[in-house]
């Protein structure tokens, strides 16, 4: 009996350590519930997922002004919002860099960039850099497709927008679109997690 207790304690502790380590190091995995947030938008208002009662989910994109990969994808992020906001999956862009380290990502610079590109979606500052580590974003751009379920917003897809940052016309796989299409049609998402080169988040 004593052995049993010790063994239980042992494996319990082991599981606890593995779980907590994983969450800290990796952020969300597909299937996890994503935290809501309250972050300042470029128009001065605070934005939260709960502000969108009619949304079926969200395309959360960690992006910034200064990363060439983010810049290469700006038009495609706008296109995602134009295509999917009306279908219930609006884009929410979050700028995760520390603007003290990356001047080109200050709130004023974000406002200017949004205006010149004609962003149709909120562009939020992750002030204090509390949100991106919870999601586990490690670079820009980094996409999280969330779907609303009873328990909250569930992570359904993590990764890249598509498979060619250089040339939109040479894209073979539109990973993010495929994920949202599958959710809209009630299908299983084929590629739930993808990878692409990006810029380290400056912290």
């Amino acid at each position: 009996m004593k052995i049993f207790k010790i063994t239980t304690l042992f494996f319990g502790l082991l599981a606890f350590f593995i779980l907590t380590n994983t969450v800290e190091a990796q952020g969300y995995k597909v299937g996890d519930m994503a935290t809501d947030f309250s972050l300042k938008n470029i128009d001065g208002n605070m934005v939260s997922l709960k502000n969108y009662p009619d949304a079926k989910g969200f395309i959360v994109v960690f992006t910034c002004n200064t990363c060439p990969y983010s810049v290469a994808y700006e038009d495609r992020i706008i296109a995602l919002d134009k295509k999917y906001a009306a279908k219930g999956y609006p884009v929410i862009a979050i700028m995760p860099n520390n603007p003290d380290l990356q001047k080109g990502d200050s709130m004023d610079a974000m406002k200017a960039r949004s205006k010149s590109k004609g962003f149709t979606f909120p562009y939020l500052m992750d002030a204090g850099q509390k949100i991106f580590p919870q999601y586990g974003a490690r670079k820009t751009p980094h996409v999280y497709v969330l779907q609303k379920v009873d328990a909250g917003s569930q992570v359904k897809y993590i990764g890249a927008i598509d498979d060619n940052y250089q040339d939109v016309n040479a894209v073979n796989q539109k990973y993010a679109e495929n994920a949202v299409d599958a959710l809209l049609e009630g299908r299983d998402i084929k590629e739930k997690q993808t990878r692409a080169i990006g810029c380290t988040i400056k912290r």
């Binding site: 010790i6 063994t7 042992f10 502790l13 082991l14 350590f17 593995i18 380590n21 060439p68 990356q102 490690r138 670079k139 980094h142 990764g159 890249a160 498979d163 060619n164 940052y165 250089q166 040339d167 040479a170 796989q173 990973y175 590629e191 993808t194 990878r195 692409a196 080169i197 990006g198 810029c199 380290t200 988040i201 400056k202």
Partner: protein
């Protein structure tokens, strides 16, 4: 009870010290090394250079001229290449610059900073296929560094100073 705790601690220690994924990829011994000219490769071309078995310690750094933290740590890699040349350490700088900037940015940068390490350019847009082949845990963020010698491999998704890089390289020397 004491024994169990020892075992527990040992297990935890093991969990945190697993070497990064070791990949068994067919090795092409015929690949030549490049010295002076800018060599542009896709991942199939680069792969053999990440899997050599010639007892050399390869420090492979993924960088780009547009990546500020990469530029900042480049001198550390250059110095490691110089200081450890006699100990069979070789630095490979794998540039991920955009093709339209090879002539306008990359070549002038290499000339201006007189980079001495071997430089390769990886032009392969399908990151989802090749990034996990470098390391299973790599998110794709740069800078990133792979140090390997024969079948011993360590991958680092982080920035280095000379001292922190030296510490890692020395672990490969003392094996």
């Amino acid at each position: 009870m004491k024994y169990m705790w020892c075992l527990f601690v040992l297990l935890l220690w093991n969990c945190n010290n697993f070497p990064d994924n070791q990949q068994l990829i067919e090795i092409d011994e015929t690949v030549q090394t490049f010295k002076d000219s800018l060599q542009i490769l896709d991942f199939e071309g680069l792969k053999p250079l990440l899997n050599k078995t010639d007892n050399t310690i390869y420090v492979v750094n993924f960088w780009a001229t547009w990546c500020a933290p990469c530029i900042k740590e480049l001198p550390a890699f250059e110095k490691i290449g110089r200081d450890f040349a006699s100990e069979n350490v070789k630095v490979l700088l794998v540039s991920l610059d955009f093709p339209h900037q090879y002539n306008s940015k990359l070549k002038p940068f290499i000339a201006k900073h007189n980079l001495q390490s071997e430089i390769l350019v990886l032009n392969d847009t399908d990151g989802n296929t090749w990034i996990p082949q470098v390391n299973a845990d790599w998110s794709g963020a740069i800078p990133a560094t792979l140090i390997y010698s024969n079948d011993k491999r360590q991958f680092y998704e982080q920035t280095f100073t000379y001292e922190t890089l030296q510490t890692e390289v020395e672990q490969f020397l003392n094996k």
